[in-house]
Structures are given as C-alpha cells and as structure tokens.
C-alpha cells in the first residue's frame, strides 16, 4: 500500500531487466513526471541510465551503443512515435514498458514495425499515476468536469489511473461511492467495468477482508481547498509551487544562481522528509537546529587551513560538508521565502479568520473580521476573494448575509470581475444544494455534542483547528459506521468487517490537509492502511504561469465546471 514504492519498484525492475551497459530512458511527458517523482538523477545514474529522453523529441542522435528503456503511456501518439522509432532504431535494443493496458492491435502494429528485431521486451507495468507521498497519489488532471458530469476523455484517463493504482498495489477492491455525486458513481462503474474486463489481471491472492475503494467528490467539501495550510509540504506547494518535487525560486528577491530551482524530495532529503508534516512554527525551530549543526560541522577558519591536519580534516569532511551546506542553504532559503510571503500577504491574520469561518458559528464576529481584512491593503487579491468565498459557502443562507456588502468591498479594492464572479461559482459548485453531507452545520446529536465539547476545550492552535470532512468520513469508515445510504456499495458485494486496506479517491482533487489527515490516521489506527488520491492535488502549481494572481486549482476546477454548465 505504498504508492511511491510501487512505482519505484516498477522502474527499478525495468532498469534491472535490461542488464548491464549504458542505457537511455525514453519517456513521454506523463511518464517523465511519474519517474521523476520516485527517482533522483544521481540514483538513476548509478543504475547506468545516463540519458533521459522524450520519445517525441526530434533531435535524438543515433547511439547504437546504448540500450533503450521505453516507459510510455499507451496513447495513440506514443504508439505511433514508437513505431517510427522501431522502423529506424536509434539504439541497439529496446525494452518497452507501457504504463497501462495496451490493445492487441497496437502490439501487432509495433511487432510489424520491428523489422530489425530490436525489441527485447514488451510489457505492461502499471505505474500510471504520480506518487506524491507513499500514501498520496495524483493524476495531474485539470478541469475533469463538463458541468456536473465527466469530460469523457478525463473519465477514461481517471479510470486508467485508478485501475493502475489498484494493479500496482495488487488490490481488487470492493467499491463504494458518494451517492450525491453522479461523477463519483460514473467513475466507480467505469473502474468496475475494467476490473470485470481484465479479470485475469485482477486475480490477486484473496485477503480475509477485501480492500475497499471509496470514491468521493470534491464538491462535497469545497471549503478545505480554500484554506491556507501550515505544514511544510503544503505551504511549499501553495506559496511557491511544487512541480514534480521541484520549486522555482527565481522570483525570490536576491536569490543566488544555484538556488533558482531547487529539488525537494523526501527520498534523499532528510530534513524535508522529517518536516513534511510539521507546521511552520516547528519548522522554524528545526531549521535553526539544522543551522547550528552546520555551524559546528563547518571546518573552522575555512579560508586558512594552517596545518596539514587541518587540511586533512577539511578534505575528509568535505563531501558531507558539501552535502549538508547544500541542504542548509536550500531549506534556509525556502523557509525564509515562505516567511517572507507569509508576512507580505498577512497570511497569519487571514488564516485565523479563515479558520474561524470554517470552524465556528458566530456570524456577526465572522463577517466583521472578514470585512476588516478586506479593507487591509496588505491582504492580496486572491486571499480576499477566498475569504469572501468561504463566507459565502459558510453562511450561504444566513438571513443577515453580508455577502452583497462584501462583494462591493471587493469591487472597491479593484478585484476584477472574473474573480468576483467566482464567488458565486464556488457556491454553485459546492453549496448546500450540491452537498451530500453536512459540511458546516451539525445535525445529529453526536456531532452537536462533539462541537460543544470542542468549544469548551478551546482550540489548541487557531491556525489548524479545521478538520477536513474527509477526517469524519474516514473515521466512520474505519469504525465500520459509514452509512450505506450516503456511500452505497457498487454491486452486490459489501464489507461486513471493518476495512483494512482503503483507497480513497477524490474526484476534483485532494488537498494536502487531507493528506495530512490520512497520514495521521495511518499512524494512529493500527491495522488500517489508507491511500489517498485525487484527479489532482490542489495547489498553485498548475497555474503558476499566470502572472498576476495565482489561483488555487480548486478555483480552476470550479471555473471550468461552472462555465461549462452555462454552455450546456
């Protein structure tokens, strides 16, 4: 149930299968992301893979002394490129791996193109998803919906991605889906269809309790992706934009040349690995410790090494020193930039109000605070819009709604019409009418008691008081109490016992807050293993090229959804 390991094992196997000798790895756009999430360059170099190439790149030279490992998605274009490649092979041998099921006819076409007998291996290795963390995967799909239903190509891609996760983890699951969402149901059916069709592939050793696939819809909880996050990974994603473990720091004022783009990968960066899920305050402390470590390890009097022993000591510690200094300068820069952005955008204050909106039920205080922030000049456009969105979602039907006044404030601030419209779009996307669960107001007695108790105890940390809806859903699921009426099983089979292996997929994208919540569940509930996935993982990365205002992807999702609704 470790998605990162699953993909890594696939890639390792591919490389090992090809035997010794210099190798080139041929990939397409998608598989490049997939591989780069699990392997670093130095790691892959050690395995004799010296070149990484795109199958569609035109300027590859003939290098007959190299072996080619092709890892491709089985798309039409890729198969066509591969046919061309085989007709005029540039490398001596080809080991071909498709990331998903490929049709017989395409295999035949490839076979006929291989006149020079250069293909040594042709297999399906189901790593057709992006493993973000061991328990979090993404399909990197944007705008999956047309109105309230699937874009057909996106449905196909999501089905492929999801089935490949199942195959990579060797799970043949029982499927549950969110009743209120038609998209969740469609995807569930589509996955089921593939499982039935490829029954020999899904013929795994039966476990006592069958694994469970739970398909949810983002529109049920549109609040979570609107909140600012405070864990390291989430902040880096949200504020700096993490793309395939890389962050672009070129916009940071006064950045040095070799820090323009840095790689953050939990695989070979211990500091990052240990601090992924810690909040910003803890990271501050840790980075200081890291610095102190470094100061001590640093050779004394670097410029003047007086004696031979000094030099020897320096040389001996040099590689570690260099590695460490690289890590230190990287994280210090990243954290420094994060805290700069936090201060610049007044995210502390914004976040506090966001959390209050999401978690407490005090309309008058909430609306006052929102309006106060809207007047602050430091608060950026995006955050202002987000606050109003949260307010709109939260107090959608409040008799005393201050929404019109807030919209006016937004207009006064000069927020463009496009963004102002999005407030309504969000309500349309994730408002009460759409939701299948009680996102904001508790109805049953237990929940009310819980809320009451929470109010009594006070909050431990105002910035992290919000718990995503997923937390509740999974809590119930793990206890075997998730209501069949809300989350029905697909088909006749159902789970009698508590589930053990759970795969949660969120149509419309998962968030890092939810990933954190799954991470904590995994660690606190013994015997349960949960993997979270989504059509995407919400962050700013997908839209980072838009210059002025960086949109969180949920807004893009909302935008495409709602705009296409109008079209229909």
């Amino acid at each position: 149930m470790n998605v990162t390991l699953a993909v890594k094992q696939y890639v390792t196997r591919m490389i090992e299968d090809s035997g010794p000798g210099m190798k080139v790895l041929l990939m397409d756009k998608d598989t490049t992301s997939i591989v780069s999430m699990v392997y670093t360059q130095s790691e892959i170099l050690q395995k004799e893979v010296y070149l990484l190439e795109r199958i569609d790149s035109q300027n590859r030279d003939n290098m007959k002394h190299l072996k080619a490992i092709c890892y491709l998605r089985p798309t039409k274009e890729n198969v066509e490129s591969l046919i061309q490649e085989l007709r005029r092979p540039k490398y001596s041998v080809y080991f071909i791996y498709f990331s998903n099921v490929i049709s017989k006819s395409e295999i035949k076409a490839l076979a006929e193109a291989d006149e020079q007998e250069v293909v040594a291996e042709i297999q399906e290795f189901y790593g057709d998803f992006i493993a973000v963390n061991p328990h979090l995967f993404s399909l990197n799909l944007q705008g999956v919906a047309r109105g309230r239903s699937w874009d057909p190509t996106m449905l196909a891609r999501s089905t492929q991605g999801l089935t490949s996760v199942l195959l990579a983890l060797k799970k043949c699951p029982v499927i549950r889906y969110q009743l209120s969402s038609d998209m969740a149901k469609r995807l569930a059916e589509s996955v089921k269809l593939i499982i039935t069709k490829e029954y020999e592939l899904f013929d795994f050793r039966k476990t006592e309790v069958p694994p469970l696939l739970l398909i949810l819809d983002r529109s049920d909880d549109a609040i979570t992706p609107l909140l600012n996050q405070w864990t390291y990974q989430a902040m880096v994603h949200e504020l700096l934009g993490l793309n395939n473990n890389r962050i672009d720091l070129s916009r940071v004022p006064g950045i040095s040349k070799d820090l323009r783009e840095v790689v953050l990968s939990a695989d070979n960066d211990d500091f990052y690995a240990n601090n992924l899920y810690l909040n910003f305050g803890e990271i501050g402390t840790n980075i200081k410790n890291l610095m102190e470590d470094f100061q001590k390890k640093k050779p004394k009097g670097q410029q003047r090494l007086e004696s031979i022993s000094d030099m020897k000591a320096f040389v001996d510690s040099y590689p570690q020193f260099k590695k460490m200094s690289g890590a230190v300068s990287k994280h210090v820069t990243v954290v420094g930039e994060l805290s700069r952005l936090v201060a610049e955008r007044q995210l502390m204050e914004v976040s506090e109000v966001e959390q209050e909106l999401a978690c407490q039920n005090d309309h008058s205080s909430a609306q006052q605070k929102v309006r106060r922030l809207l007047r602050l000049p430091g608060v950026c456009e995006l955050d202002a819009v987000r606050l109003v969105m949260l307010y709109a979602l939260r107090y959608e039907r409040h008799s005393n709604s201050a929404l019109p006044a807030m919209m006016e404030e937004l207009a006064k601030r000069g927020v463009s019409e496009k963004y102002r419209k999005m407030v309504h779009s969000v309500v349309e996307y994730g408002g009460k009418r759409v939701r299948g669960s009680d996102l904001v107001t508790a109805t049953d007695a237990v929940a009310i008691t819980k809320q009451f108790l929470k109010g009594l105890k006070g909050v431990e940390n105002v910035y992290t008081q919000h718990q995503p809806l997923l937390q509740d859903t999974l809590d119930q699921l793990v206890k075997g109490k998730l209501r069949d009426a809300q989350f029905p099983y697909l088909g006749a089979s159902s789970l009698r016992d508590r589930p053990q292996d759970v795969l949660v997929f969120v149509v419309g994208g998962a968030t890092y807050e939810e990933a954190l919540c799954v991470y904590n569940l995994n660690r606190s509930v013994p015997g349960v293993r949960i993997v979270l996935g989504g059509t995407t993982v919400h962050s700013t990365k997908s839209t980072q090229h838009q210059e002025v205002l960086v949109l969180p992807t949920v807004l893009t999702t909302v935008l495409t959804t709602v705009h296409s609704t109008k079209r229909y």
Binding site: N2, Q46, L51, H65, E115, P134, A266, E282, K288, Y318
Partner: protein
C-alpha cells in the same frame, strides 16, 4: 530492567536470538560468538534492525516474520509508519512478449526473404567479369537474373507518375526488374555490392572474422543460400574491384536501394564498437572490482587498526594498493571518456557529449563516495603497540564490566552462578594472548564499550571522546523504551530517527578517525562535544517540554552505574541535565547573527499562535536574504589566479586529452608493469613507503611507547614531529590530499560552484607550497 517486555535489549546482535535477560545474553554471547570477527557497523545495523523487528512485534502483536528487513533500510516512507505495513512485492505486470514475437516473426520472415533475394541477385550481377564483357552480354546476364517487366506494361513511371517517351526513357531495376524513369533511378556502386554480399557470406558462415572480407565461403554452410554462393568464384570479384571504371555500378530502384542501405548500416554497426564502449566496459569492470575489494579491505584495515591479529599487515598493504589502483583507473578512464572525440573534426553530437559528461559525473560520485571510506593502515610498530594496548584495554574493560555487573545485579536470582561463570571466563580470557577477548555482549552496553571497536587506535583519548556519544545512544534507547511503554508513537519515531542519526554519526566518526590519525583529535573533540551537548540539550528540552512526567522516570540503576564508569563524562552529563536550553543557543552567536529572522523563533514553542510575533520577514533587512546562503557568507572573493602554476596544472589536467603522460594514466602503468610500479606508487601514498621509513627506527618507537604510560602511539608521533619519518608520512599525505582536492575542484567546477573552486584552489596552492618546503628540508 524488567525482563520480557522490552525485547530489543536482549537480542544477540550476531545470531538474533532472543534471550530473556541481560545475563543470559552475555553468557550466550561469550559462549557462542567469542571467536567471531566483529564488525561494528554490521553490528550496529543489525542491532537497529533487530530493534525495529522487536518493535514490529510489539505493535502488530503477531509473530509473522518479515522475510527481508534489509530492503527497508534503503527506502524512505514519508509519513506512513512503514513497519505497520506489509512488505510490498512488485505490482502486477503483463507480458506481451509472445504475442509480439509471433507477429514479428511473420514480418521478419518476409523481410529477410526480401533482403536475401536482393543479395542473391546482387551477387549474381557482380560475379561475372563486367569490364571485359560487351554490353549485350551483360544485358543478357542481367536479364537472366531477374525477369524484366515488359516496357508496354508500364506507360508511366510508377514512382513519379511521369509519362515515358523518347526523352523520358524507361529504365529497369536490375534487382527486381521493375521500371522507372531516370530521375527515380538509383545505382548500387560495385564496392558497396561486394561489401554487402561478402557481409552476408560472413554472417552466415564465419561469424567474427571481419578482417577477411574476401574469405572463401565455406560451401558446407547448411543454408541454401550459402551453398549457392559457394559456387561463385571470389577471384573474379577481386579483379573487378581492382580495375575501377566509371560505370561500375548497378542500376536499381529506390526501394531496392533502401533495403540494401539498411542492410549495409546494420552490417557496419555489427562490426563497429565505438571507443566509448570499450572504455566504458573497462570502467565498469574497475568499479565492480572496487565493490568487491573495498569492503574486504575495510574489514581488514579495521581489524588491524583495532590491534587484532586476524590479518597480515603486509597483505593488507597490498590490498590497499590494489584498491587505490582501481580508483586511479576509474578516474583516468572516466576522464578519457569525458574528453573522447573532443578533437575530432566532426565534433561529437551534443547528446554524446552529454552522455560522456554523465558517465564522468557518475564515476566522480562513485570515487568520492567509496574512496573516502578507505582508512589507512597502521605501521608495523604501531601495529605492535596496538596489539598490546588492545589486550590491556580488553582486560580492563572486562573487569569494569564485572564490577558493574556485581553492583547492579544484586536483585538477580541467578547471581551466584553467574559470578562463578564470570570468574572462569576471566581466567580464560586472560589466557588468550592475541587480544581476542569478546566485548560486552549486551547490545547497548556493547556499543558503549568503545574499547574493542575497530580503529580505536588511541583508546584513552577515545574513551573520553566517544563515551558521550555512545551514552547518548544508550540514553535514547532507554527513552525509546519508555516512550514505547507510554505508547507515544510519534515520540518513538522521533527518537528512532535520533538514534539512527547518532549511530550514523558514530559510524562516520569511526571511519574518519581511522583516516585522520590522532592529529585531528583535539579539534574533533571540541566539535563532537558541542554536537553532543546540542543533541542532549535538545533531547532534554524536548523531553521536558513534551512529557514532564516521563522525566521522573529516570533511567534505571544500571544506566546510572554505567554512566559513572564513564568517568569524566558523567559529570558533564549531569550538568547537562540541569542545564537549560537557552545557554546552548548563546554559544552559537554566529548563527544568531547570521539568521536574525530564524533566531527570533528560538524560544517560541512550536505553536503558530506565538510564532506570529516572532517571524520577522527577512525582506525587512535588505542583505538578509543573501546572507541566508552560508556559502556566500564565507567565500573569499579571490579571483582565479592564472599566474598560479598549480591552478593551470589543474585546468590542464581536466582538459587533458593528448597528454597521455600524466601521472594517472593507467595504461602506462600497466605496460611497464614492475619497473614503473614502484615510483608511481610512492608518489601516490603508498602505505609501504610509510612502513619502510618506519622500520628504519623501530626501536625508538617501541621504547618510547611503553604500554602503561602514553597509550597513544600517534601522540608520540606528534611530539616527535621533527623526525624524518614523520615528514615522509606528511609528504605522502600531502600528495594524497592534493589528488583529493583536485577531484573536488573538478567536481565543484562541474557544478558551477565557483566560490568553492576558489577556496579549494587556494587550499591546493597551500598544499603544494607545503610540499615543496618539505622537499627542501630533506
């Protein structure tokens, strides 16, 4: 120390047997493993693994055995506690090989038939004496090879569609008989034709003799093609090839030409092996050898440095030399690969340059990673001293432990019998002269007992130095247990990480110590104590902050006892316990100054609430963001000094292509075998050099180093710094250093870290300078 609940404390690190109590374990250890060769790193590792396994059991409460815990070490698991999850096998796969091959076979058959048909015809067309035959005769033979399509059937050129007429005449392909116009026509030059046909012959009959292009075909070749070709005379071809004429070519169509060209390309590639492949194969071979030999050497060196007598010093020296030679070879080969084809006229394509660069980069990484773990060997005298010392140390240790045991074991029921056994063991161990006395078997204690560990070449100083670290490991292990009892999983994880770091630190220390000899000791001591203080302080503060209740649970009496035996350390640990966290921070004013923004958070508890006030935006202080980079802070802006001869030297070395006479060239070394070997070796830090110089005055060394007094032979060296042999060592060290630094410079250059390059080249200059001065004094 209650028995039973905490398993990791009582598992034999060698055979992983789970023993009920400390004493049983000790017995077991002394009985079973007293003669085994021990390897610290391996033991620590297995200890960790064992501990993890035990934790597994505790968490899962079922006894299922993990097949392979080792594979876990290498992979990081994000947040998910991996030990709660099953080991994962490779995901599902599906192989299309058979289906693919079936379809390809059909296609290939077709293709091969096509090609062979063309080749047979080509052969027939070239087998007769073209020059001396008249046109009509040639035409007749050509027509006999393949029936020509009749002119009337083809009014238009099938390729370009132009109409045939008087001006645009029909031409027949001699290979397939089809018709095309002049424009669409191609020619097979006769040399190409010969090459193609001879190639077929070879590949069919005598594979692997590329030199003899006109080798007589063996008619015995079973295939029909071979026998047919066997009837042809190769003599005629030779003659016709010698007399080249203008129209020495065969008309053919595009399609036939294409097929033939493909065939030709394939033939060429089969015989052609680029230089890079040859070099690369040798490079990999060297790397494999290193992988094979280096661990062997390290094992031997560690054992020797610890004063054990398992291995022979001379053979170890030979091994060291061998490994070093491989490193040089790797370096040289990868350099050759890097510069391959640089001077060729058509410069290599960017991709092949990239390939070469990546290979060189990998080799550099490889050398960096492995070479630095290569510790040096003791000289003969030192070795003798080491042996003696080790023996003594071990006795002392054993006695100490016995004392501890007696104090702490009053509550043990089996005490009496144990003591008897110990007594007998004591006698036994005294009898062993070779210093093979087993270490204290209880795992945590064992790690503490640094005395027997490899490379503990100067034990007195080391025990001071190491004990805190090892003690910290012990402490953490006990904390771990407490945390686990309290079921604080996150703390357990944190502590485990801490423990791992400590153990890494320890390993690293071991290695570096062995290399750096004792000259480094004083400096390192400070460094490490600071490190430990920090670690302990952090440990303490975290402990105090998070679980004040846990603090009251003091480590059990055994720990206290062993702490006391650590002599000077105990006091220091005590002090630390009381000590606040804040003073530690003040000790590093440098970091505070450099990072005001971060330092501001120093005392803030890890809560965001309070953090709000402390985070000062770095942007508010202009230069701050730049000072965040520790490199810039320290780099001296010295320009690259072109006047410096050594700097040029380095550059030259990197560019070195033609300059085969460099000291590193492995091929030279190989060719002149013995003759060259010796001088080359001396310049490269030959351990024998060290040895021979030492042996010139073995007695001064030995006598000055009476076992009772200064137990550190290396200290003696330092004092007698004026001695000639020391100079020799230093010179040798210098040379090694120079090599190393050159490698670093190169690496830094590749990565474009100019500030480092400057720093390093400054160092290099100094080194070279020192070397020259040394030479002068001789």
């Amino acid at each position: 120390m209650s028995t039973g609940e905490v398993k990791e404390g009582f598992i034999c690190p060698l055979c992983h047997k789970d023993l009920q109590s400390f004493y049983q374990l000790q017995d077991h250890y002394e009985e079973e493993h007293s003669g085994d060769d021990r390897h610290v790193r391996g033991q620590l590792k297995s200890l960790v693994q064992k501990a993890k396994k035990a934790k597994d059991k505790l968490l899962k409460r079922d006894g299922d055995d993990r097949a392979d815990t080792g594979s876990y070490e290498s992979f990081y698991y994000g947040g998910v506690d991996p030990y709660m999850w099953e080991p994962q096998e490779l995901g599902a796969t599906r192989n299309h090989q058979d289906y693919f091959k079936k379809h390809r076979a059909a296609r290939i058959d077709h293709y091969v038939i096509e090609v062979n048909k063309l080749l047979i015809r080509l052969e027939k067309l070239t087998s007769f004496d073209r020059t001396n035959s008249d046109v009509a005769k040639i035409r007749a033979i050509e027509k006999s090879v393949v029936p020509w399509v009749s002119d009337s059937d083809v009014p238009f050129c099938p390729d370009c569609g132009n109409k045939f007429n008087i001006r645009n005449r029909r031409h027949h392909c001699r290979l397939c008989g089809s018709i095309m116009c002049r424009k669409c026509m191609d020619f097979v030059p006769l040399p190409l034709a010969y090459k193609l046909t001879s190639g077929t012959r070879e590949s069919l009959c005598i594979p692997g003799s590329p030199g003899q292009s006109q080798a007589p075909p063996s008619g015995a070749g079973a295939s029909g093609m071979g026998s047919r070709r066997g009837s042809l005379s190769s003599l005629s071809s030779v003659t016709s090839m010698l007399e080249e004429k203008d129209d020495e070519k065969i008309r053919c169509c595009h399609h036939c030409m294409d097929t033939l060209l493909k065939r030709q390309q394939k033939l060429e590639e089969r015989d052609h092996m680029p230089d890079i492949v040859k070099l690369y194969e040798r490079l990999r071979m060297c790397m494999d050898k290193v992988d094979e030999k280096a661990p062997e050497y390290i094992k031997v060196a560690e054992s020797l440095n610890a004063g054990e007598t398992t291995y022979n010093l001379d053979s170890a020296g030979g091994l060291r030399l061998e490994v070093q030679k491989y490193y040089e070879l790797i370096d040289a080969l990868s350099k050759r690969i890097l510069t391959l084809g640089m001077k060729d006229d058509p410069a290599p394509t960017p991709k092949s340059l990239h390939l070469q660069k990546m290979i060189r980069y990998t080799a550099t990484l490889f050398v960096q990673e492995k070479l630095l773990g290569l510790m040096s060997l003791p000289t003969k005298d030192k070795y003798e001293a080491l042996k003696e010392k080790r023996k003594q140390e071990q006795e002392k240790k054993l006695q100490q432990e016995r004392l501890v045991r007696r104090f702490s074991s009053t509550h043990q029921a089996a005490q009496e019998s144990m003591r008897k056994r110990q007594e007998s063991e004591k006698n036994r161990s005294v009898a062993t002269t070779n210093g093979e006395v087993p270490p204290a078997p209880k795992p945590p204690r064992m790690t503490k007992a640094g005395g027997w560990l490899p490379s503990a070449d100067s034990k007195k100083t080391h025990s001071e130095l190491k004990d805190p670290l090892l003690q910290q490991i012990d402490n953490i292990q006990s904390f771990l247990r407490q945390a686990r009892e309290a079921q604080r999983t996150d703390e357990v994880a944190m502590l485990e990480e801490n423990l791992r770091q400590l153990q890494d630190e320890y390993d690293q220390q071991q290695t570096s110590l062995a290399i750096a000899l004792s000259q480094k000791l004083a400096q390192e001591e400070n460094l490490q104590q600071g490190e430990i203080q920090r670690l302990e302080a952090r440990e303490r503060s975290e402990w105090e902050q998070r679980a004040p209740a846990a603090d009251s649970r003091q480590p059990s009496s055994i720990w206290e006892c062993s702490l006391d035996l650590g002599e000077p350390v105990a006091g220091y640990v005590e002090e630390d316990k009381i000590g606040e966290v804040t003073p530690k921070f003040e000790r590093s004013p440098l970091s505070l100054r450099a990072f005001p923004a971060l330092a501001g958070q120093e005392e803030s508890p890890p809560r965001l609430r309070s953090l709000g006030g402390h985070v000062t935006p770095p942007s508010s202080e202009g230069p701050n963001s730049s000072s965040l980079n520790p490199f810039e802070e320290d780099s001296t802006p010295t320009e690259e000094d072109p006047s410096n001869p050594f700097f040029e030297d380095i550059q030259e070395e990197h560019k070195e292509v033609s300059n085969g006479k460099k000291e590193y060239n492995p091929f030279d070394d190989e060719e002149d075998n013995g003759g060259q070997e010796e001088p080359a070796a001396t310049s490269l830090g030959n351990p024998f050099e060290e040895e021979s110089s030492e042996t010139s005055n073995p007695f001064t060394e030995a006598s000055g180093d009476s076992p009772g007094v200064s137990t550190n032979p290396f200290e003696g060296d330092e004092d007698a710094g004026a001695l000639a042999d020391i100079d020799m060592i230093e010179e040798e060290l210098l040379l090694q250093q120079i090599d190393n630094i050159r490698a670093y410079i190169f690496d830094a250059k590749i990565n474009g870290r100019l500030d480092e390059v400057e720093l390093l080249s400054a160092n290099l200059r100094e080194l070279q300078h020192t070397l020259q001065e040394q030479k002068k004094t001789h």
